[in-house]
């Protein structure tokens, strides 16, 4: 692997553009959820930041309390732009989630795994697809990986030894009206994807 000498950067205009892009994608995602589940998703303003690998832990902890969590991760790649989507669930959300998804089975470890997979397919898929459509990139998605059920952030990100120093992160905090559902979606692009993404964004800005 070669190291890219170019410094990862993000101008204010670009940041706004990413935010707008994510907003639109989430709007589409929310619309899909509304059609499928008949719920109203509260759309927050996504946070767009360059983060250092040492801050990843904090970025996640920031979004969540120190209660137990479950997490699913899914890779995506298209036109040489790659990244991973990390979906974090607060464990207290499961019973409401089950009601929302019309899940009738028992809420044991397997039941929760089913829910995790179903919800992450929906949320991650919709968001990635929405961003891809606007940038005219067809993203291929890998298989979701369950990083952990009922663990602490430390267990979820135990590897710690990341192959990057600084990269683009888009953070979305999902809440759903009237129910206790609390989850965070973090999109993290690979370091060398950021320049390519910025190029695409610059087209939109022109």
């Amino acid at each position: 692997m070669t190291l890219t000498p170019t410094e990862v950067s993000l101008s204010e205009d670009q940041r706004d553009c990413y935010q707008e892009l994510t907003n639109v994608a989430m709007g589409q995602a929310a619309d899909r959820l509304a059609r499928l589940l008949d719920v109203y998703v509260v759309l927050p303003i996504p946070k767009v930041n360059l983060i250092e690998s040492s801050d990843l832990h904090m970025a996640i902890q920031d979004a969540e309390t120190d209660s137990a969590m479950s997490a699913v991760c899914q890779g995506f790649i298209g036109s040489g732009i790659a990244g991973e989507a990390l979906l974090l669930f607060n464990d207290t959300s499961f019973s409401d989630l089950a009601a929302l998804m019309n899940y009738g089975g028992e809420l044991d470890r397997y039941g929760e795994l089913e829910l995790l997979m179903d919800v992450s397919s929906l949320l991650i898929g919709a968001c990635i697809q929405g961003i891809g459509e606007q940038l005219e990139i067809h993203f291929n998605q890998g298989h979701p990986v369950v990083l952990g059920q009922h663990c602490k952030v430390d267990d979820i990100l135990k590897s710690g030894n990341h192959q990057w120093t600084k990269t683009l992160a888009i953070e979305i905090h999902y809440t759903i009206e009237h129910v206790n559902i609390d989850c965070d979606l973090l999109l993290l692009f690979t370091e060398d994807s950021v320049a390519k993404l910025n190029n695409k964004i610059n087209y939109l800005l022109d």
């Binding site: 899909r32 059609r35 499928l36 899914q74 397997y110 795994l113 089913e114 997979m117 179903d118 397919s121 929906l122 898929g125 919709a126 697809q129 998605q141 298989h143 979701p144 990986v145 369950v146």
Partner: protein
């Protein structure tokens, strides 16, 4: 050569690739009838594309739970989004038998699947494609790692020489019991004991004989225990026992039983017969203890007292306030 010939050639190649690619491809229509069935599916199911085509998926494969699968597939039709299933949810979608007699270690093929929308010319989704990946090797090695981890944590919990609980594991149990005692009125008692003059046993008979003494004492101890008692080899020739729901008097009975058991023991090592005795210290949980360490120290003090006052004895810890 005309353009259409080239296109025809292209399609021919594509069909060849579909046929030979080592993942399963199944195209389903809105009624879940099979429209495409590639070589991988044919090979593993033994069902030819001619037989499969037009048949209903759920009628042909009763192992696929209809409700479950539709939950994954309907969003693909409705939202044009992809969905996924992984072997941790269900080991397989299609029940395909292990096909590798030498290297295959699972009885069935573990599968991950992707379900992707196929848009028609008018952009509606009337078909979906189910892609089936064979992930048996990943699943089997993951299960191997999990069982290895379980064995390791069990090894960690036992002392190798005596097969009693290890010190680390026992200390965690002690911490837990200490917290319980702080909330409860039911007393628990700690017993620490050590073999008298163990150094001279080692010196006189050799270290292997010493090990045999430790093993025999541990074996005797196991037979003396109640199910709720937790005993460990604390270190060297020191043992400790946590007696849950036990007051001082009952602990004294236990300790005396252990002391007499060791005293009576005729430990055989080769041709030799070795005798041992032990001194024991008892400390009941006191509200004045602020940490589990205080409790341990109290039992240790009582043990020290038993040693000082002549060995082969049991001493009970007396709090200073009394």
């Amino acid at each position: 050569m005309t353009d259409s010939n080239i296109e025809f050639g292209d399609i021919h190649w594509l069909m060849d690739i579909l046929q030979n690619i080592d993942v399963g491809l199944v195209v389903l229509d809105r009624q879940y009838n099979i429209q495409l069935w590639n070589g991988f599916m044919e090979s593993h199911s033994g069902l030819s594309p001619q037989k499969a085509k037009g048949e209903n998926l759920f009628e042909l494969f009763s192992e696929i739970p209809k409700d479950w699968f539709m939950k994954k597939a309907e969003p693909v039709y409705q939202l044009k989004t992809r969905t996924f299933t992984i072997w941790e949810q269900r080991p397989y979608l299609f029940r395909f038998k292990n096909y590798r007699p030498i290297t295959g270690r699972a009885s069935v093929m573990y599968q991950n699947t992707s379900i992707i929308p196929l848009e028609s010319i008018n952009r509606s989704v009337d078909h979906i494609c189910v892609i089936i990946y064979d992930v048996t090797d990943i699943a089997v090695s993951r299960e191997d790692v999990m069982s290895a981890n379980k064995t390791l944590s069990e090894l960690n919990r036992t002392d190798q020489l005596t097969e009693l609980a290890s010190r680390g594991y026992w200390l965690k149990e002690l911490d837990r019991e200490f917290l319980r005692c702080q909330r409860s009125v039911v007393p628990s008692t700690l017993v620490m004991f050590d073999l008298d003059d163990f150094r001279s046993i080692n010196g006189h008979y050799g270290h292997q004989a010493g090990d045999q003494v430790l093993r025999s004492v541990s074996e005797g101890l196991r037979q003396t225990l109640r199910q709720t008692d937790q005993v460990c080899r604390y270190g060297g020739e020191v043992f400790s026992a946590l007696l849950v729901d036990t007051d001082e008097d009952e602990a004294v009975v236990f300790a005396e039983r252990v002391r007499k058991m060791i005293e009576r023991m005729d430990i055989r090592y080769g041709q030799q017969s070795i005798r041992a005795t032990a001194s024991l210290g008892i400390a009941r949980y006191q509200k004045s203890f602020t940490t589990a360490q205080d409790w341990l120290q109290a039992a240790d003090k009582a043990l020290y007292h038993a040693k000082e006052s002549g060995r082969n004895k049991t001493t009970v810890y007396q709090p200073k306030a009394h």
